[in-house]
Symmetry: C2
């Protein structure tokens, strides 16, 4: 892999898209792919794709493009998908259990070790083999397994408390599914899986569709 340069968040967010496309290509595709082809397939600008790829890869060859296999490896390595990240999940509700049971995270190097909940009735219930433990065991579990990532799937009202507990356990990154802002010191990353944001974009688009310009000018 190429020496890692400083990479912007916007570039970073596009990489998974390239990766998914490359990995989903049929087995019998030619071994090389051009930035142009990738761009067209994903509806993006070709210069942007080329620049993004240049940041993570040793480079393609003029007239030929990038070796697909190599590109996949480079992106995966860049994103750290090649070594596993252990995580714990707080909140074994419906969403929490759905995530706990989802096998696809393996592909991204994410391994959810266990879920935690304050409800004793949920404890022990193995969804797809993963343990659900009482929240009281969170700290000792995280410390002994050296867990660095926490997933928050509790209701909004309890999210900050869950985050605080996770941070006390030495966690460095939080994947937040609760629809609230979480306060955290700057060295802790809070990544919001923002359903509310998506819904806002969708809702405004539909509004605009139904209420074309003419009506707005009345």
């Amino acid at each position: 892999m190429v020496q890692k340069k400083e990479i912007s968040k916007s570039v970073l967010k596009r990489l998974p898209g390239y990766l998914a496309y490359l990995k989903n290509m049929p087995e019998d595709s030619p071994p090389h792919i051009s930035a142009t082809a990738l761009a067209n397939a994903l509806g993006m600008g070709e210069v942007q794709v080329r620049k993004d790829l240049a940041l993570v890869s040793d480079g393609g060859r003029p007239k030929i493009g990038y070796l697909r296999e190599g590109l996949i490896e480079d992106i995966e390595q860049f994103l750290g998908y090649d070594n596993t990240t252990d995580a714990v999940l707080v909140g074994a509700g419906r969403l929490g259990c759905a995530l706990l049971g989802y096998s696809g995270f393996e592909e991204y190097g994410l391994n959810i070790l266990a879920a935690f909940d304050s409800d004793p009735d949920k404890v022990g219930t193995d969804e797809s083999g993963k343990p659900i433990l009482h929240i009281g065991k969170l700290q000792s579990f995280c410390k002994s397994h050296k867990v660095l990532m926490g997933i928050v799937t509790v209701p909004a009202a309890h999210a900050q408390a869950a985050a605080d507990q996770l941070m006390e356990c030495g966690i460095k990154a939080i994947w937040n599914f609760a629809p609230v802002h979480l306060d955290a010191p700057p060295h802790i990353l809070v990544q919001n899986q923002n359903m509310a944001t998506s819904l806002a974009v969708l809702s405004v688009h539909l509004q605009a569709q139904m209420k074309p310009k003419k009506e707005l000018e009345q």
Copy 2:
């Protein structure tokens, strides 16, 4: 409400954050809140917050701030949360059922009418009172209910097919939970609920944490 101006996507994506904070404030809070206070609470720049609010609200009063109730109304109206959007969901797996059973969407004006699945075994199984129907009934259902939004929670390999079916049913916006790019004509909005993107951001952050500069320079 103020006459709607052209609003950028980045502003639009911040509005739900303000809204959630305002709605979660305790009942006994003072009736007014300043952009400064909001900014501090959410860890944002105050000028940015003020500019964002100016786009959706009639404006606050110097020295006093914005009327909280009014601001909530303005944002909700702007985002279209005040009138309900009906949606259908395709793919009644674990994630699909979790979304189907989530009552919180009401707050965003989203009403999932039904789920559809190709597996006959899943059909009929009411999760929390919402029907799961066979995919064959999708078209007639969408047409008769005039559904404009579709939610895709099928595995990646079937996502494009599901999207194509939804578009044939006259849907104008797709909320895509599958980790693949969906091809769609420009007037159809595809909003990706991108777990892969979030995971990339988290993964790279953790990598950087564990491998501080010194090591990189070796």
